[in-house]
Point group: C2
Chain length 325, copies 2
DNA sequence: GTCGCCAATGCAAGCGCTTTTATTTTGATT
DNA sequence: AATCAAAATAAAAGCGCTTGCATTGGCGAC
């Protein structure tokens, strides 16, 4: 209809500046007239790019990932890149499957949560030359590009705060540590702080449990049923902490008068609870956006593509109080 | 390596039963050996299918969509279909863009939230022959396949309950109704119930606001600053209700003693609040799964592909109490 | 006016797969 | 052993696009 070859149409669509204004407008008119959309498969085949990046997250049901993804997606969209999301449900096996599935779909980049992962998987990624970014965790000397924060240091700071307020009988409800370096780091951080005061987390005051409300509730009930009971419960995330508050309430106790509780992540939930949660603020949205930028740089082979570490902040609200207050 | 043609490899991958066991195992060995994955673009081009469906949701930050998507994705994955998610941020314009973007990516199905949408968009969808399913809302005689529930009836039942408990000064914090039929239906439902008792929602006791915690808080503060103040606030969703509880607390009032509050959706949040929210339970996960099944049926041109309506249930918790109690 | 040069466009060769059609192999039957 | 049908496999033609290279045409310099 525009009287030009397909090559010119292709150029109008992909590199409009290489086509004269006159021809371009003719082609654009034809495109509009037929409501033409390029065939994705043809495009992908010929150019060997899909303009798609994949992300594998544990679950969408936790607000932190939802937020991070939202930001990631928005930042990618600015560069015309689509995000495909898969979930692993915190199962390393399933995560590997999902990564392979995404590779099979021709993603030209991947965003993965955390670092703990079968080396063979990293090998596959490198061999295929698919750029990837690890998010949510960060440690010095991590060999891969990552955008995250120091989970261990943040947890340590929180535990230190609890100790500073006079607490000595401290328990922890952690996430499942298998295949989850963030959960591991948070436990380690708490252990660090306790160890510095000659205390330790033994198995009666550390429970590992899935990141669910009722799991947190059950764990707290169990921790609080020993005598003497802990005066503070440090939780691996805000959802577990919310569960702990439920348990405390249902046992006829009160937070923070009888038991202090701390969370991790600072999702909206933390703010609406009563008492509001003292927790660790994590800049999820900013991390998502930073991950997008880093991935786009890696894809473009830019050399300023380096890992980014974010700071966390302790947010003091009502759920943590000095001992004996 | 397996000494066969590419045609046979293709068959091993797509219709293994059409290949003899001996050849198949040779091919599979070669596939495993080279860690071969078919090229997505080639596949899409030749077969004209992508095994991808798209979903456009308002936001991932609301747990209801996150949950629904999770279920949707899991159900689709069972049939080897990948889900691509885009967000519109409750903006009809942006939703249209995202739908077109997904079509451009060659999705072979779409999941859309609600029914309110430019007719031209529906036309495009039909013309392209891309099957789609509307979720989250449902009404009798909806001309398109949908999987949802009757928002209006559910809201009406909730308002009726509030009335039954003696409340007469009833206010509502609704979601933004522009381009959001669920928000509209929920307001209409409340109006229905009030009208049946000769009451109405005028502009001083109806505020429309984005589905955010602080928006809910501000709206509630405004509603409660008139004299005489409402004795019950019906909210368009649980997040708004959580915000309302924050406002009540910060104004030195108490729920439900001074003001009752109701929510909608029954997300986890509703349960952990203090007082826990009286709300409308919506089976988000089941809807997501049902949407997946319906879409797969439509795609396969099965004739038993019909809309599904779910029942909602009123969940009575502490935030709603009889007037004067 | 002629020549070069560059910008604009066309030509045509794939990209890696699926699928129809043709061919070969297999194995049962005579 | 010969025959034939059925099953298994190979051959080859695209699918719709991108892109390197060839061609064209317009314009300034001589």
């Amino acid at each position: 209809m525009a009287g030009v070859s397909t090559a010119t149409v292709s150029r109008v669509l992909n590199e409009p500046e290489r086509v004269s204004a006159k021809t371009r407008s003719r082609v654009e008119a034809a495109v509009a007239h037929f409501d033409y959309t390029p065939h994705f498969g043809g495009r992908a085949l010929a150019s060997n790019r899909t303009n798609t990046v994949g992300a594998v997250i544990p679950t969408m049901e936790n607000a932190i990932f939802a937020r991070g993804l939202q930001a990631l997606q928005e930042a990618l969209a600015e560069d015309g890149v689509t995000l495909v999301v898969a979930t692993s449900n915190y199962d390393p096996e399933r995560e590997a499957q999902q990564i392979r599935a995404l590779l099979g779909r021709g993603v030209d980049g991947l965003v993965l949560i955390g670092e703990a992962r079968d080396p063979a998987l990293y090998e596959t990624l490198e061999r295929r030359g698919v750029p990837f970014v690890l998010v949510w965790s960060w440690r010095r000397d991590c060999p891969w590009p990552c955008v995250g924060f120091d989970n261990r240091a943040a947890a340590r700071a929180m535990a230190q705060k609890v100790l500073d307020l006079g607490h000595r009988r401290i328990a922890m409800i952690a996430g499942v540590t298998h295949g989850n370096d963030r959960a591991v780091a948070r436990v380690d951080g708490v252990r660090d702080a306790l160890a510095a005061r000659g205390l330790r987390l033994d198995e009666t005051n550390l429970i590992e449990t899935p990141y669910h409300l009722d799991a947190g509730e059950n764990a707290a009930r169990q921790l609080l049923s020993v005598t003497p009971r802990p005066t503070a419960i440090v939780c691996g995330n805000d959802v577990l902490a919310a569960g702990a508050l439920l348990a405390i309430r249902s046992m006829g106790l009160s937070a923070p008068a009888d038991v202090s509780v701390t969370g991790f992540d600072d999702i909206d939930l933390a703010y609406v609870l009563d008492p509001p949660l003292t927790t660790v603020h994590v800049p999820h949205r900013r991390m998502g956006a930073a991950a997008a930028r880093l991935l786009l740089r890696l894809r473009a082979q830019e050399d300023n593509a380096t890992s980014v570490v974010f700071e966390t902040a302790l947010v003091e609200r009502g759920s943590l109080a000095p001992l004996g207050k």
